[in-house]
């Protein structure tokens, strides 16, 4: 029986939304306050959804210890208390929360082996959130 397990994590990071291909005026018009050259920060909430058959021996889709330690090591350590613009993920890529979702999903899809990766959801603030399921339709 297939179930979907979602775990919620937090990290804090700064960023500046700026596209080198745009003029200063276009950047200002597109990103507004988010274009401030000094950057600004958020407490991001990250939800990782994994999916798979429930193992009848353990009753689990995947062991939470494996998911938590993967996220801690590969995602939290990478993004928490960092300036996103300085990371290799965001060289030539604007660190919007859309692109952050895609980057996090990519890490999970490439390296997480304990269950299928279904979806990543990121809340940038309590008022906006973003979801990415590797190009598939998001299941609700």
């Amino acid at each position: 029986m297939k179930a979907y397990l979602t775990r919620r994590y937090w990290f804090s990071a700064s960023h500046r939304l700026h596209c080198d291909a745009m003029s200063d005026g276009e950047n200002q018009a597109t990103y507004g306050k988010c274009n401030n050259p000094h950057g600004h920060g958020h407490n991001y909430a990250l939800e990782v959804t994994v999916a798979g058959q429930v193992d009848p021996r353990t009753g689990m889709v995947c062991n939470l210890v494996d998911l938590d330690s993967f996220v801690q090591e590969k995602i939290w350590e990478r993004f928490d208390h960092q300036n996103l613009n300085t990371l290799s993920d965001f060289q030539g890529v604007v660190p919007t929360t859309e692109n952050l979702c895609v980057a996090v999903y990519g890490i999970l899809e490439r390296e997480f082996r304990f269950a299928g990766v279904e979806k990543v959801r990121v809340e940038e603030t309590m008022l906006n959130s973003f979801e990415y399921a590797g190009g598939r339709e998001v299941r609700h």
């Binding site: 179930a3 397990l5 979602t6 994590y9 353990t58 009753g59 689990m60 889709v61 062991n63």
Partner: protein
């Protein structure tokens, strides 16, 4: 098609243990959750049903009916219970959040004759939840 979600809360204790594993395996796989005296959670249940809106009532489902079914099939059976000992399916199955979602689906599904069950979501804590959509 309109989707309707009803929430409920229940509190229960459980522990994780597979008698086919050695004590060491049980400890390695289940960690703290293997404590045979059990530990507890405040669970939040979200039941989502779907259906056409009835032209006369304007309802997908009579909410009172749905609430009564959730109470009699789930809350009465699980609230303030030790899941391993007092809920029959967990004498065999391990009462993980995955198996809870599946069990709740199986309890509700035969009783819902108006709207169709779409999703059962069980929060074990605010930071951990499982969704089950039945077997497509």
């Amino acid at each position: 098609m309109v989707y309707l979600t009803r929430k409920a809360e229940f509190s229960a204790s459980h522990y994780y243990h597979n008698p086919e594993f050695t004590p060491e395996e049980n400890q390695r796989i289940f960690g703290k959750c293997n404590n045979p005296n059990g530990h507890g959670h405040n669970y939040t249940l979200e039941v989502t049903v779907k259906g056409q809106v009835d032209g006369r009532s304007g309802f997908v489902v009579d909410l009172k009916q749905l609430k009564d079914i959730m109470n009699s099939e789930v809350i009465d059976a699980m609230d303030h219970r030790f899941l391993n000992r007092e809920v029959p399916e967990f004498k065999e199955a391990i009462p993980t959040t995955e198996n809870l979602a599946i069990s709740i689906w199986q309890r509700l599904q035969p009783k819902l004759n108006v709207a169709r069950l779409h999703r059962v979501r069980v929060y074990e804590t605010p930071d951990l939840f499982v969704d089950y959509y039945g077997e497509a």
